[in-house]
Subunit: 124 residues, 6 copies
């Protein structure tokens, strides 16, 4: 039986990603159930479900953070959708990616820009 | 004579960092003037002076990004002050650092937490 | 009242770090209690308390991982003590750091080597 | 004529990777022979051939290290096979990847989890 | 109307990349015009157009830097062409990649080696 | 008795760093002799002693690479001295650091700029 935190985490995930949340966790669960468990319970059941910062700001911060990492493109694309679903516009996402040039340089920011285009194309 | 973008950049920097902006640039200028020039003109004269995203959100995103890098502590401390000056609370900064655990793990996030404490101590 | 996972996590931490565990969490708690909570509950109450891999191997893997990051020196020093406490020798720690040269190059590995020396000096 | 260290390195590599070792070096040699030479001589002829730490622990530490880097997927997949060949189980590899969430966050760990699945599928 | 710095930047880019410069910027412009603007104006209109260091050395330094990042392969491939166009040989590029093993380890350097092979194949 | 490659490596190191080479290796040797051995034999006895690229270009590339890493300040300071000793000027070093802003952003480049100032102050 899933923990209370798991149930809360899945609810939080669906607020950010819609049905894609269940799909994402199903794939991870098929590889290693413990990974899927902590993926739901820790960031979404614990961190994101606290109301100190609103979901819209949280998702933009995550887009910024994953942009500077440079290698986090699959996770970044999920959170770009999360940013759109929590009230940010495409222009705001593109602007934050552009701002990140100052903190990670062009190569990582360009990787993120390409990811944004793929996400926007998928959605249309 | 400073470029139009430099003047605009210094104004933007003072909005974020107060008098510390001039101090910061003076130190960098004494090491290499060209570095100081692009530090003012590019992020602040160009990127931050655009109004697509508000300054408060921009500074929180920068705090998130510098947290995941792990090594950017001097710059991170400047932007934590920028976050406070543009309307974020200490609690919001600490919450974003905590959220970043999910994206960079504990070591980088703990480096950032220590930096936050130093900033809060300096201010008091 | 602390959660069951928190209690379990503190027990696990004391197995790895002795009394230093309580000291470490107390410092973090004084900055942001939520950060301290997840620091205990997630890696130690959840990940390390699973018995699929023994503690000795886990701590050496963490030393390897923090070595390649290059910037994680405060956390790395804690886990070097954890490695010693869970049955690794100084020679094994130094050998793993040396092995990591192949994966992160000399600069990050040399940062880790200096950290090891500080830890060994502290202990004596 | 290959150096003594090169011969020793190729023997060590075959212990870890079987026939895939020769294939891997052949590809690198076709791009730049000097790179292939140091790839064999340095990590395998020098570092791995020392007996301070056993091969099984070494390979798990390498999997941990390459997981936190986030971008090292081709090399990581080779060392996941090395981990299996030196006595680790799939469950141990997946558990170490999951442990690394605490040190590199979910994006890098998820990249590694996907790589593990590809390796396990290839093997079957 | 493009700024003076934009015009100067496009001229500099064409010196490094030939017609591919216009193609590269066109793709970025179609995703976000502001990103394309600063991509031309800042590194090429400002940094590269200064004559303190010659273009050949600048491009090799950029190849070195992008090699150690590990994740910057699309940008790295562009600058490998830039290195060839500004007077470096294939052997020099391969040698710098090999030198970088000492600073970033084999995984990032091997990613860069594969990128070099793709670039050399494209050109022939 | 030291290997032929070790002797060659120490000669190469003294060409780059003067007497500081012996001092540097002595410190590392006191922590772990095997680390010191490979530090001399691999980058300096093997990589730098090849004549495909001249020492001046090699050292500038290393300064570029360590700048983008952000965390490699002790090693970076050694190679800034190596760059000066192999014929680069202070201005060229500062210019390459400034160029790197485009590839790693301001935080890492600013760390490197501060390191450069420390090196220049030490030398005077």
């Amino acid at each position: 039986m899933p923990s209370k935190k798991y149930v809360q985490g899945m609810q939080e995930m669906r607020k950010h990603f819609g049905d894609a949340a269940d799909q994402w966790i199903k794939v991870i669960h098929s590889i290693y159930p413990e990974f899927a468990k902590v993926k739901v319970e820790f960031p979404f059941g614990e961190l994101y479900s606290r109301d100190v910062v609103d979901d819209r700001t949280r998702e933009l911060c995550t887009v910024a953070a994953l942009t500077v990492q440079g290698f986090a493109l699959p996770e970044l694309k999920v959170h770009m959708k999360g940013a759109l679903n929590t009230g940010s516009s495409k222009a705001e996402i593109l602007e934050i990616i552009t701002q990140m040039i100052a903190y990670c340089g062009f190569p990582a920011a360009t990787n993120s820009l390409s990811a944004a285009q793929e996400v926007f194309n998928e959605i249309e």
